[in-house]
């Protein structure tokens, strides 16, 4: 299985780049995945990633996009609380691309 090399440690990922063990995630790894995705990580990007991780830790699944939008709205104001804004941050979709950076499994659902 392919792996990311983070500070000398191999962290395995699947054929699409999602890491296989959520617990191996760290910020250096997130930066490596973000670079590979061509993302320039801003505070807002990190806020999304952190929210996804906290939510996953608590509930064991990724949040619905609607829930993510609401959380970002709360933190950064109404002009950033939209699905469109999330797509500006993560052009390949907040669910798929942001989850990959956050080390979550690939989302299965559409909501």
């Amino acid at each position: 299985m392919a792996a990311y090399n983070v500070n000398g440690n191999d962290i395995e990922h699947d054929e699409e780049g999602y890491i296989t063990d959520v617990s191996q995630w760290n910020m250096d790894l997130a930066q490596i995945i973000a670079d590979a995705e061509g993302l320039d990580m801003t505070d807002e990007h990190w806020a999304v990633v952190n929210f996804l991780r906290e939510y996953y830790n608590e509930y064991q699944i990724a949040p619905a996009v609607r829930v993510l939008v609401k959380a970002i709205k709360k933190q950064f104001g109404p002009e950033k609380g939209s699905n469109k804004y999330l797509y500006e941050l993560f052009p390949y979709g907040p669910a798929k691309q942001a989850c990959k950076v956050a080390g979550l499994p690939k989302p299965t659902g559409c909501v």
């Binding site: 608590e58 509930y59 064991q60 699944i61 619905a64 609607r66």
Partner: protein
């Protein structure tokens, strides 16, 4: 080919989810849980009911390691979170109730404190009323 159009704008139903089976061993519990979460996406009213062995779905302290299955008990926390969120948000017209049937709970030696999430405990007769006033009942 006929185009299928779903008119959901302004549609508001009361959907009751009847969880009757133990969490593992069949796929019913997980499938109903996923349906409930989708109900939130459409802001529909919902009664999430636990009866019979279904009350075990939300019992605290489950360990699924020996089953080699993911423990989805924490995911029920989303139901509680969505309910509280809807209750607090004045712009949201979504009324959720999380209900455990008293007789099922007591027959299994459980109390409301044994559950992972806050529940309303209703008698079988009171639950019948809830079912009666639902637009749809989805069993699992």
């Amino acid at each position: 080919m006929t185009e299928v159009v779903f008119e959901i704008e302004g549609v508001k139903k009361v959907i009751t989810f009847l969880n009757r089976k133990a969490p593992y061993g069949t796929i019913y519990a997980l499938e109903v849980l996923e349906s409930v979460l989708i109900t939130a996406a459409f802001e529909q009213h919902a009664n999430i009911v636990f009866v019979d062995d279904g009350v075990y779905q939300i019992k605290k302290g489950q360990d699924t390691a020996a089953l080699e299955m993911k423990n989805f008990l924490p995911t029920y926390g989303i139901i509680e979170m969505e309910k509280e969120d809807a209750d607090e948000d004045e712009d949201m017209d979504m009324n959720w109730r999380i209900i455990v049937e008293k007789e099922s709970m007591e027959a299994r030696g459980l109390t409301a404190d044994d559950f992972k999430i806050d529940v309303e405990v209703l008698s079988s007769a009171e639950l019948a009323e809830v079912l009666e006033t639902s637009d749809a009942v989805i069993g699992g």
